[in-house]
């Protein structure tokens, strides 16, 4: 039993969101029209943002909507419209059946590993009362905790990411520039 209580509607929301995520992900890889596939990708990414809210990660949900739906999806739709080959669409290569077999086998193995694993969950039984109190405080204000850990423990990767994004922006400009 996790330390945060779980009302019934959480279950309904989880099943609805995961159904939308899986169905729209399947649409992304099955639709012939790449533009429609990009729209299905937007739906999938939005539902993942909803899942982040269910997981007490409000800041990540906001970042997901801003970065994935707001930036990455728009970029992909622009690329589709600039390069779309209407006659061809989104074709598959000749390895559909072996890849489908291999991937579903991999998925089954992962699910067996997940369900067979004895996870060390956050429960009242294995945490001292002081730790439980700390856990509750952290989940009550997750965004502040995330900011604190990003700017204390992970400050070097945080700065490295800004350098990476700068390099990516310059690289994209160089690649797209007309010669």
């Amino acid at each position: 039993m996790p330390l945060v209580t779980q009302p019934l509607f959480v279950q309904i929301v989880f099943w609805a969101l995961s159904a939308v995520v899986v169905i729209s992900a399947l649409l992304v890889i099955s639709l012939q029209d790449i533009f429609k596939a990009a729209l299905a990708l937007v739906l999938s990414l939005l539902s993942v943002a909803g899942l982040f809210i269910l997981l007490n990660a409000e800041f990540l949900a906001a970042a997901q909507v801003l970065i994935y739906v707001g930036a990455i999806a728009i970029l992909i739709i622009f690329a589709v419209m600039l390069t779309q080959n209407v006659a061809q669409g989104s074709l598959s290569n000749n390895f559909r059946i072996p890849v489908a077999l291999g991937v579903s086998l991999l998925c089954v193995f992962i699910i067996i590993a997940i369900t067979g694993m004895d996870w060390n969950l956050i429960t009242e039984a294995n945490l001292s009362s002081a730790t439980q109190e700390a856990v509750n405080t952290i989940f009550a204000d997750g965004t502040a905790s995330l900011a604190s850990i990003l700017l204390n423990n992970y400050v070097l990767p945080f700065e490295a990411v800004s350098l990476l994004l700068l390099a990516a922006v310059i690289g994209a400009i160089v690649l797209v520039r007309e010669r």
Partner: protein, 118 residues
């Protein structure tokens, strides 16, 4: 009761769908979209771990201070932030390469693209 396993199975399914798309599609943009699906599967798993898993060092540890607990609980979310940032950089560069290939080759199919130059 929705627990850790539910989210992990969902993330495994999402990752597998993305992997299938990345391996079978011939359109570069569709492959990039499939890779985004894989990133999202990994992100769901990382955030679910940070929500439900406690490291063994904290088990019945009465001396654990709040900062230690926070470091353990928020690491998954911090990694998800980094994954999102790296995905943004990857898409910006990937679509730049797509545009360069399209300008040189008039196609975005990987079956007709074996060189990056004209």
């Amino acid at each position: 009761m929705i627990g850790l396993e539910h989210f992990l199975v969902l993330s495994a399914v999402l990752f597998s769908i993305g992997l299938y798309g990345a391996l079978t599609k011939t359109n570069i943009i569709t492959i990039l979209m499939s890779i985004e699906l894989m990133f999202n599967g990994v992100n769901v798993a990382a955030v679910a771990f940070s929500r439900w898993i406690t490291p063994y060092t904290l088990n019945n540890d009465t001396s654990a201070i709040a900062e230690d607990v926070m470091r353990h609980l928020m690491t998954g979310q911090a990694f998800a932030i980094f994954i999102i940032a790296v995905a943004a950089a990857e898409v910006a560069l990937g679509l730049g390469i797509v545009m360069a290939i399209y300008r040189a080759r008039e196609t975005v199919s990987i079956t007709e693209t074996n060189l990056l130059k004209r």
